[in-house]
């Protein structure tokens, strides 16, 4: 949670410091740490920049520097049916799984934060358990038990898997925003004569809102980008975008993947900016990393 407590403070805490002699930037003062940090950023960011550069290539194979500048691979990616079909299906799956995870997870977070229950730690552990088992293993288990043994459709199995994966985020992130709020506000509303439904809609729900927004954004992105879970569960009728892209890399060495990746990058930047405006970018991750 320290991420979000810090963010709003930066402007306030800078004011008194400016009275002291100006500090030099941290990187200059600590050359060894600074060198490690620069290398770290290079590893994180540089490959992404080269994906963008390759996307504007005019050549037919991935080559650097590209032979010519062109937008033709963007046009090709937008016209490539498997990409567009799986883009729609991934969006649909991510939206439904996020919704379902919230519908199941928010009441659970409410009960865990506000309920008088014995064995709370166990129930909490149960809700977080899908995070501990490797996703590929969950995918294999659901493939064997739902698709192979019961004949469930690929889409239904994907929905179950993705929802199970997102529930821990929903419970944790909304629980964190609830834990920050004073439960006596709800008691007070009750004491003033509000019924349980009225208390929920006019007090609890507004308290939950930042958590729900964070959990929705995080859930959607997590599901949309998922590979290990979708890998074994998707079938001929229903395919997700990341797995379709992986298959394409195996077949062809042309820069179409770079263009598709650049489009995804642009959309992700948009989501990040949306998150920044809605709840604060760093806050989204504050809730899952305590």
């Amino acid at each position: 949670m320290s991420l979000d407590t810090r963010a709003p403070e930066t402007t306030a805490s800078r004011a008194p410091r400016s009275a002291r002699p100006a500090r030099r930037p941290a990187v200059e003062r600590r050359p060894v740490l600074g060198a490690f940090a620069v290398l770290g950023y290079i590893v994180m960011i540089v490959p992404i920049l080269f994906v963008v550069a390759a996307a504007f290539s005019g050549g037919d194979s991935l080559k650097f520097p590209p032979d010519s500048f062109s937008l033709k691979w963007f046009v090709a990616a937008a016209a490539y049916k498997p990409f567009m079909a799986s883009l729609l299906q991934s969006t649909e799956l991510a939206a439904l799984a996020t919704l379902l995870a919230l519908v199941l997870g928010v009441p659970a977070a409410l009960a865990l934060e506000r309920g008088r229950l014995r064995g709370k730690a166990w129930v909490q552990g149960l809700f977080l358990s899908p995070l501990i088992v490797p996703e590929l293993v969950v995918g294999l288990a659901l493939y064997q038990q739902l698709i192979a043994a019961l004949g469930v459709s690929s889409f239904a199995a994907l929905l179950v898997g993705h929802t199970a994966l997102l529930i821990p985020y929903a419970v944790r992130v909304t629980g964190a925003s609830l834990a920050l709020a004073d439960p006596f506000v709800e008691e007070a509303a009750r004491g003033l004569g509000a019924g349980p439904l009225k208390v929920f809609t006019s007090v609890t729900l507004p308290l939950l809102r930042p958590g729900i927004v964070s959990a929705s954004l995080l859930g959607f992105v997590t599901s949309f980008n998922n590979v290990p879970l979708s890998l074994l569960l998707q079938g001929r009728k229903f395919a997700t975008l990341p797995v379709t892209m992986l298959d394409y890399v195996q077949q062809s060495y042309d820069p179409m993947i770079a263009s598709m990746s650049t489009l995804i990058l642009a959309a992700t930047v948009l989501v990040a900016m949306l998150a920044e405006r809605a709840v604060g970018f760093a806050k989204i991750f504050g809730g899952i990393n305590r």
Partner: protein, 273 residues
Amino acid sequence: MLSKKSALMLLAPGVVFIVLGFCVPALMLLFAPPGVTAGDVIARLGRMLQDPYDLAIIWRTVGLGLLVTVLSVAFGFPIALLLARSTSRWAGLLLALAIFPLLLSNVVRTYGWLVLLGKNGVIGQIATALGLPAPQLLYTETAIVLGLLQLFLPLAIISCYSAVAQVDGGLEDAARGLGASRTRALWTVTLPLSLPGVVVAATLVFAGSTTAYTTPYLLGGSNQRMLATQLFNYSSVSIDWAGASAVAIIMTALVFLVSAASAALAGRKGSVA
């Protein structure tokens, strides 16, 4: 506060879903894959642990996982420390830049290494321009390590950042004022106090890098198999359920072992992460 009855009613749908949609299938994986008995799975697991080819895959997974963990902390901790202590106006942007990759698809992030390390990639072209033979970088363990480091560094930074930000910067100043060098203050004050966060970072990175699929698939190819790519191979190419289950058990056991060790370590330090 909610009454016991309404709390249970709120919990019930979620509990039922997790138990039926996750716990039961995950346990069945161990005891009853379709058409195979638990005995077959255990026997297969036993043979795997004696077979040199399978053991090489297990050790490669563990070894690369440990290497990526050490590197992630070595690069992630300095970044977290500098960001947490910096008064620069760029710190906020740099923090956002470190977190942003977590939102971006692993396929997109990993594909960058194909552009860099591939046959006609950036590094190969530079080598050729210099008159050197183009090095084989793709489909090597080096490529896998670079790819995994890129993937998990943001996670390490966030965990270390939470811990470092909670350590009072005044303590470092005090150590410095008492005559400790900057390096000594870091190693004897800041690092020990932020150790719980470092342990969390290491656990998350190890669990993630030993179970990641996209990276070894794209950057390791078929000659640098890891447990994740081997599991896919058994379940989708050779349709060997006992083999797939056995690999799944090894992968899960590895993650559980490390999580338990880290929880024990955190408990002993008297602080829970």
